[in-house]
Symmetry: C2
Subunit: 392 residues, 2 copies
């Protein structure tokens, strides 16, 4: 039944050093052109490409699709599939798994503004140059509109389920409220109804870290050095919020990085790569997280998607929270929170659940790790999904 | 009894735009030369000036002194005194106040490495140029050694009490353990026995924000533009950790800064000063905090003191925590924590109290504001001090 508009493995029009990662998955990254897209904040994008991966086969009714939405720096690569590389929710999707690809057609789309194949700031505009600073402001809702066009192209009439964690949860929630007739079930994991003041504050620091890197050049850096120091600092700030104080304490404490001395004049000598000599282990760990991200992610996409997440507010233009969510009265919801999450506090999931139509309880994901528990506790997430959405 | 080594109001040898603030307090900033100071991490400083303010009169025995230790970006200006400007613990010190200057001689010293008069990176070295990148690595213990020299100069044989919050609490604790015979009472407020992995992680992000500002120039920026963008970003990161999620949520929520539109292309235009157009109120608030700090604080001092705080560990070279604190068996302790503090968690105060000699309970400072509660809840801090240390 499924017939992609382009051949599997077609290279996506993308540039920059993170492109190497676009092909990951053994050529199973696919893309479709969805045409001109008007944007919530005004203006529009003339030619939008949506990149995605998929597993399984769509049924003739177009009703067995499952949309899995990635987080801020996530990609379409949810599951290894035929590729060589594990996905970010490995084990959840596949033949005989919780989301059984013998029964369901699973789709993961790269968010609008991203750098994993979907049109974003690093994409080539009509004039042959990357968008860069010209890339317009996009919101969570804009991406959901683009994803709906992708669903049209794929022949999906109504998703069996739309599932997401963190920013993916925001996108999943927006799907249920924007297109309730096309969403049978919706799982919102470690996410909330609207980005809070603190989430906005931490996001501002990250965006500023990138903008203040002189290599950023206002967003037009594609013909020069990338703002890796700024992006690396943004990642460090973010990563602290993804982990709990207790986890960092138990894992690193005050341990010193072997061979280095934090109590020394050597500290004052910057080391190429933005770090300094003489580190505690936790510093080395964060340096490592920063280094990993800058090799696979575009700084402009980081800014665009972070600002889209700052804009997340399911109530915008829809009245109160209860009124806004009432539109999704026929959608079955699963809400889950990581008990140690200090970026998306469980109380925020409780607030969402309480305002949803019908009786929705908040399932707890037990993990001491913090927000990232929604990624590391795949088995728990799988069990919750099996019990709620994939019982048969 | 008290006879300062220099005349009150003598200008301190300092440079940079933050010097304007040095004179604050109506000329009551004083300073003494304490000579050459060897440093814990090796090397030393040849000529150290310690700046301080004081209130009241020292008794002939030199035993009625109270040392109040400032936090990371704090100054010697604890109390208005004869000046025009309120102090950071205004109302706590003065005639008839909790710390009654008719009975006690109160001293507040600027930390070693600071920019409020004590020798720091912006001070002029022997060759006539500011230290800049040549300023050595200093620790909390180095500052306590320097403060002990100041106490010698002032004729203080034994402090009635050494009191501090946040980094000031770390300095107070080090005083009690390093010089137990010179500390009768010690108050450690919103502080802990050793900086934790998470505290180090947030500190690293702040230090990197400054180091990565091209104006920082490795620390030798005194003949050019100051790294205000980097320092401002460091302050934003820090300030988020000083406040609770609940306080930011209740105060700002998702409110938009009047006249600005966060959902707009205008966001992509950087505004002079490091911010961007189209902000949420919480962003404007953090921009304001950043702007305030960069006009009064030196970036090199921020790095030096932050790294000193990262080094804070009362157990270094002293055995276990219990063994380390046993040295202060004759010191009377007051430990207090802000219940909503998420930078210095109350559990860290509990851990300290449990390891102190004798039976020490942790007093709670009730505030929803977070770590900054140790500054805003002056009355509560005052009551705790009155009950414990200033009963007569």
């Amino acid at each position: 039944m499924f017939s992609p508009d382009v051949e599997p493995g077609t290279p996506v029009p993308d540039g920059g050093p993170w492109s190497a990662a676009v092909g990951q998955g053994g050529g199973v990254l696919r893309s479709v052109e969805i045409g001109k897209l008007p944007l919530e904040a005004g203006g529009g994008l003339p030619d939008v490409t949506m990149a995605y991966e998929c597993w399984g086969t769509l049924n003739p009714e177009g009703s067995n699709g499952v949309l899995i939405q990635h987080a801020l720096t996530g990609s379409t690569h949810v599951s290894r599939g035929d590729s060589e590389e594990d996905g970010w929710w490995e084990g959840l999707v596949g033949p005989g798994e919780v989301i059984d690809t013998n029964r369901y057609f699973v789709v993961a789309a790269n968010m609008l503004g991203g750098c994993y194949g979907t049109t974003g700031p690093s994409s080539i505009a009509a004039d042959g140059a990357p968008y860069g600073s010209r890339f317009p402001f996009v919101t969570i809702r804009d991406s959901v509109q683009a994803e709906a066009r992708l669903a049209d192209k794929l022949g999906i009439t109504s998703w069996h389920a739309v599932i997401g964690g963190s920013m993916g949860g925001a996108r999943a929630l927006e799907w249920a409220v924007t297109f309730p007739e096309r969403v049978q079930r919706c799982a919102v994991v470690a996410a909330c109804a609207a980005s809070t003041a603190e989430q906005i504050a931490f996001a501002q620091a990250q965006v500023l870290a990138i903008r203040q890197d002189p290599n950023f050049a206002g967003g037009d850096y594609y013909d020069g050095a990338a703002p890796t120091l700024g992006l690396g600092l943004a990642r460090r700030i973010a990563h602290i919020t993804y982990r709990s104080e207790a986890e960092m304490g138990a894992r690193f404490g005050r341990s010193v990085q072997p061979g280095e001395d934090p109590l020394g004049h050597a500290r004052l000598r910057p080391v190429p790569g933005g770090s300094v000599a003489g580190r505690y282990q936790v510093e080395s760990y964060l340096d490592h997280q920063a280094r990993k991200l800058v090799t696979r992610f575009d700084a402009n996409s980081y800014v665009a998607i972070t600002e889209a997440l700052m804009s997340h507010d399911v109530t915008r233009g829809r009245g109160s929270l209860v009124e806004s969510l009432a539109r999704a009265a026929d959608v079955e919801f699963l809400v889950a929170a990581v008990n140690s999450d200090r970026l998306y506090f469980p109380a925020q999931s409780e607030e969402l659940a309480a305002a949803l139509p019908g009786h929705v309880v908040v399932h707890r994901i037990d993990s001491g790790i913090g927000h990232d528990g929604f990624l590391t506790e795949v088995d728990t997430v799988g069990e919750l999904l099996r019990e709620s959405f994939f019982t048969e």
